[in-house]
């Protein structure tokens, strides 16, 4: 069976895996973005808090994903739970750090002007600071998504969902004719998903970055 025949006969299974992969990454990214931006907003004005947030998230990112998933298994069991927790944790660093750096990079004169025309603290944050800090945050989201694509594949070993199962099935049946097809389908599927997500982020950037700061 060559690769195309394999895709033809297994496309349903593959599509389900791809959908689950994308959906797991997407949902974890939404959660990670919310937490990351909130942490950024809460900490960026205090040096030690911002440093602590960055240090914590970067320590998490230093841990190899298989080890972190392994540590989560005794606590939450196998399956979706360790996958979701690990993906969200790993997604936090790029977003939190970029949120902090982005928010700090906003020209204080602009914030001052906003205060001068009578905007409240919340209004300043929502209408001035966050829109201006959005491009770096979006970059953080893109970087995090790409990373999570690969980590989600590893999470399949802990019975997580997604295309990683295809790769591990291939590894389990090394030597059989389908091993290469399975690994190839899983790997290429993840690359395609990563590129699709990336294209989507470019589009989101076009639509959401305020016109005044586009380059």
């Amino acid at each position: 069976m060559n690769f195309w025949e394999y895709l033809g006969t297994r496309h349903q299974q593959l599509l389900v895996d791809a959908y689950q992969h994308a959906s797991a990454v997407f949902q974890c990214m939404v959660v990670a973005t919310l937490i990351g931006v909130v942490v950024g907003v809460v900490t960026y004005r205090t040096a030690w808090a911002a440093n602590l947030a960055t240090l914590t998230t970067s320590t998490i990112l230093t841990m190899p994903s298989l080890a972190l998933i392994g540590l989560l298994i005794p606590v939450v069991g196998l399956g979706v739970a360790p996958t979701v927790i690990a993906l969200t944790l790993y997604g936090l660093l790029p977003i939190t750090r970029n949120a902090i750096v982005g928010l700090r990079g906003v020209d204080p004169a602009l914030v001052d002007a906003a205060r001068g025309i009578g905007m409240s603290r919340t209004m300043r944050l929502l209408r001035i600071e966050l829109p201006l800090a959005w491009p770096p945050i979006l970059t953080g989201i893109r970087v995090a998504t790409q990373m999570l694509m690969g980590i989600a594949a590893i999470a399949a070993y802990a019975s997580g969902p997604g295309l990683g199962n295809e790769i591990f099935r291939g590894l389990a049946s090394l030597g059989s004719k389908n091993a290469l097809n399975q690994v190839l389908a899983g790997t290429l599927g993840i690359i395609v998903l990563a590129l699709l997500f990336d294209a989507a982020y470019v589009l989101i950037g076009r639509l959401t970055i305020p016109r005044g700061i586009r380059d």
Partner: protein
């Protein structure tokens, strides 16, 4: 935003100044690539203190300091202390944990030491090869004759980043058979790209007037490279080394799926046999090793940085 940051993918890899590199360079699975989006906006003063952002007072002025005092005592002691606590806690827990035959079999006879040693070997050997491939290649790609090829190399590097490490490793195992060789090649291939990107970014970020000046006083191209360009790019190259080390510790855990050994063996044995003590032991050792390697590399980053480039407080 500077030009090269405009599409985020490039931005991901771009130069990160000494001001912040320690915060993010050298994380597994990302490489140094996540740092840069904001820096284009913000400059290296983004996050205050250099390196890993431990909450510590502003560094003392750089004048008359021995190399060791470049590192605050907090960063010298904090992480090792935490690691010792972590390992001690694991050990104490292990003493009272119930170990059945399967668990005992999995960890007896020096298997833990062997796995740890294999893991360290995988990391060190792969890092060595990553450096001798990526740094000369980066230097070559920034020379005038090859400069046209730089965007192509960067594009390939970015595409490679989308490849899942486990998929790459599995393909190599099918191609080369199980064993250490496939694992090593996989680890190397996976880490070459971020380090290459870091080196290119570092050499490109050098102030062109300095290179011009060096050329103007009659230095040979080799002299300019060796005495001006490379020393100036040292912080970024070191950040790349750190990236490679930490990435490799992480990818080396996957070597077990290709029969390459390492601490991943303990983790996967623990998962497949549902023996939590084995799993936890493997995971704790892997995490400790990763944090330790990152800490050592961060010390090296500070110690080896040319003195003229020290960040003024």
């Amino acid at each position: 935003m500077s030009g090269k940051d405009d599409d985020g993918r490039d931005g991901g890899y771009g130069p990160h100044g000494p001001g912040t590199d320690g915060l993010g360079a050298g994380k597994p699975d990302v490489g140094g690539l996540d740092l840069d989006g904001p820096e284009g906006l913000d400059g290296p003063d983004g996050l205050g203190p250099p390196d890993d952002g431990t909450a510590r007072p502003a560094p003392p002025p750089p004048a008359r300091r021995s190399p060791l005092s470049r590192i605050g005592w907090q960063r010298l002691t904090l992480l090792p202390a935490l690691l010792i606590l972590l390992l001690l806690a694991t050990w104490l827990w292990f003493q009272q944990a119930h170990l059945d035959t399967i668990s005992t079999n999995a960890i007896s006879g020096g298997q833990v030491t062997k796995a740890l040693w294999q893991h360290i070997q995988l990391t060190v050997i792969s890092t060595f090869f990553v450096l001798i491939i990526a740094i000369p290649l980066g230097v070559l790609l920034t020379r005038r004759a090859f400069r046209k090829a730089t965007p192509i190399a960067m594009t390939i590097a970015n595409m490679g980043q989308a490849t899942p490490a486990i998929g790459l490793l599995a393909l190599l195992v099918i191609w080369l058979g199980t064993g250490t060789k496939a694992a090593l090649i996989g680890i190397i291939v996976y880490a070459v790209l971020p380090v290459l990107a870091n080196t290119i970014a570092g050499l490109k970020a050098n102030d062109p007037t300095l290179v011009e000046a060096a050329r103007g006083i009659g230095m040979s191209p080799l002299g300019v490279l060796g005495r001006v360009e490379l020393p100036l790019a040292v912080p970024l190259i070191l950040a790349g080394v750190r990236t490679a080390l930490v990435l490799n510790v992480g990818t080396a855990t996957l070597a077990t799926f290709g029969g390459g050994g390492g601490l991943g063996v303990l983790i996967t044995t623990g998962i497949t046999n549902q023996r939590m003590p084995v799993l936890i032991l493997g995971a704790v050792l892997t995490i400790s090793l990763a944090l330790l390697v990152d800490w050592l590399a961060s010390l090296a980053e500070v110690l080896l940085r040319p003195r003229g480039l020290e960040v003024e407080a």
